[in-house]
């Protein structure tokens, strides 16, 4: 019998009674979720269900939206992110984010990856070079770009740009990588590369990924949360969600009967 009781050391986020409003719109309703370290957690659900809002709440990026009101707890490293005043730049160093479409800075490949470490005070040229190389190797991009590191990042293909953005996020040595539909703009080969990468990344990082692609969630995640109308309907091991979900709404959604 598998135990559901997780010790605090196995958890990276403990979300308790999280509520969020955009003005009058009640967008996240009493969310309770425990996100495990070194696991891939997939967030699925139809458009407007609150999955992107939830992920953006985990690094407080949602605070940039006007009229946002949040209550509840997001425990991260022993602190409640919602009530604790903390340096957002530092927080996002620990909780990196990758978006739907690769968004490299209009700079060289090298400078894109070096940007984060430099912001955080790294000055030693050799260390920066080593970090750039390691980050690009982590995303399996090094061999493709090592001879043109000074070329503009915007000259890379869509899939390469997305892997560069992941490398940029990894260069600050985060604990968590949040991904909001990271492959929705990519072709199948690039998607497969990113999926392989995500599975490898969980050895060192915790990944929380929003995806519209059911098969992707099934392929790469350890646990899956199904969101609907701002609520978590079901949160379980991915194998259970895609074979024997407990809630009929989950089954209807993953079977493509609505959404």
């Amino acid at each position: 019998m598998e135990t559901n009781v997780l010790t605090k050391s196995e958890l990276i986020f403990s979300v308790n009674d999280l509520n969020l409003w955009y003005g009058e719109t009640y967008a996240l309703k009493n969310i309770n979720m425990e996100i495990e370290k070194n696991k891939v957690t997939a967030i699925i659900g139809p458009s407007g269900c609150g999955k992107s809002t939830f992920v953006k709440t985990l690094n407080l990026m949602v605070n940039t939206t006007p009229n946002v009101k949040i209550s509840g707890e997001i425990m991260f490293r022993g602190e409640n992110l919602i009530t604790k005043k903390r340096d957002l730049v530092d927080l996002r160093k620990n909780i990196g984010m990758v978006f739907q479409k690769g968004n490299p800075f209009p700079q060289s490949i090298f400078d894109n990856v070096a940007f984060g470490p430099k912001i955080h005070g790294l000055r030693n040229k050799q260390e920066i070079e080593q970090l750039v190389e390691k980050s690009l190797k982590d995303v399996a991009l090094w061999d493709e770009v090592k001879d043109r590191l000074k070329d503009p990042a915007l000259g890379l293909s869509g899939g390469q740009q997305q892997r560069l953005c992941i490398a940029r996020a990894l260069a600050t040595k985060p604990d968590v990588l949040l991904m909001d539909e990271p492959t929705s703009a990519l072709d199948p080969i690039s998607t497969a590369k990113i999926e392989d990468l995500i599975i490898q990344l969980k050895e060192k990082y915790t990944v929380v990924i929003v995806t519209h692609n059911m098969q992707q969630a099934a392929r790469i995640s350890d646990k899956t949360a199904f969101f609907l109308n701002g609520e978590v309907i079901e949160f379980d091991h991915t194998d259970n969600i895609f074979s024997t979900p407990n809630d009929k709404r989950t089954e209807d959604y993953i079977s493509g009967r609505f959404g």
């Binding site: 059911m214 099934a218 895609f242 074979s243 993953i254 079977s255 493509g256």
Partner: protein
């Protein structure tokens, strides 16, 4: 058309082919026992020829199921339904093979057996129970009805009981020197085919449980 409406339609077509295969096997089983009772060699030959139709239906079901998985990428109950359809088609195709085996036994008898009325009555009864089990198992699968599936599995005990009774009677006949040994052997084979038929139908009942519950159950204990 509702979301996944086309998928639902394609599943219906698949299940209708499975129903065709099931009706075919049921009819073949019924005909094979009648041919045996009446020592109707022509009917037995026809049953053997017809088996190719069951093989064809079985192949069609497999091909359609694979195309459906490739095109629709089903999950959860939808996926189990398609996989179980393939598995059930295999069981039913095997039942059609048993009907063919019984037809072969009819031909090997060489003449209408004498003095084995009791055995024939029990063999007929085994076939009737098996036929009822077969049609109910298909209904249970299509309706996702585990209660009916359990009733089907329970009836396997009746077939097993008749099987051991008939075997004993046939052995006794042999010991008494009352029957022709080759006739007794063919009837033993027939009993065995019917007993195995009921076992395959019990597999179908277990598949209904797996479809609905997503867990494996052994109903054959």
């Amino acid at each position: 058309m509702a979301l996944r409406g086309r998928f639902e339609e394609e599943i219906k077509v698949l299940l209708s082919k499975l129903t065709d295969l099931c009706n075919f096997a049921d009819k073949a089983l019924n005909r094979s026992i009648t041919a045996l009772e009446q020592y109707d060699v022509d009917a037995a030959l026809e049953i053997m020829d017809d088996d190719a139709k069951a093989d064809l239906l079985y192949e069609e079901i497999n091909d359609q199921a694979i195309i459906l998985i490739a095109k629709q990428q089903p999950v959860a109950t939808d996926l189990r339904k398609i996989i179980m359809t393939i598995k059930i088609a295999t069981d039913i195709e095997r039942i059609a093979d048993f009907a063919e085996n019984i037809a072969k036994s009819t031909i090997r008898l060489g003449k209408k057996p004498d003095g084995m009325m009791d055995a024939f009555i029990k063999i007929k009864k085994m076939q009737e129970i098996s036929s009822e089990m077969l049609m109910d198992s298909l209904k249970a699968f299509i309706d996702e009805d585990i209660h009916l599936a359990k009733q089907v599995a329970d009836k396997d005990d009746e077939v097993d009981h008749l099987y051991s009774q008939t075997i004993q009677e046939l052995f006794q006949l042999n010991q008494q020197g009352a029957g022709n040994i080759s006739e007794i052997i063919q009837l033993l084979f027939t009993c065995r085919s019917l007993e195995r038929t009921a076992d395959h139908i019990t597999n179908i009942a277990e598949d209904v449980f797996y479809l609905v519950k997503g867990k494996h159950y052994d109903l054959n204990e």
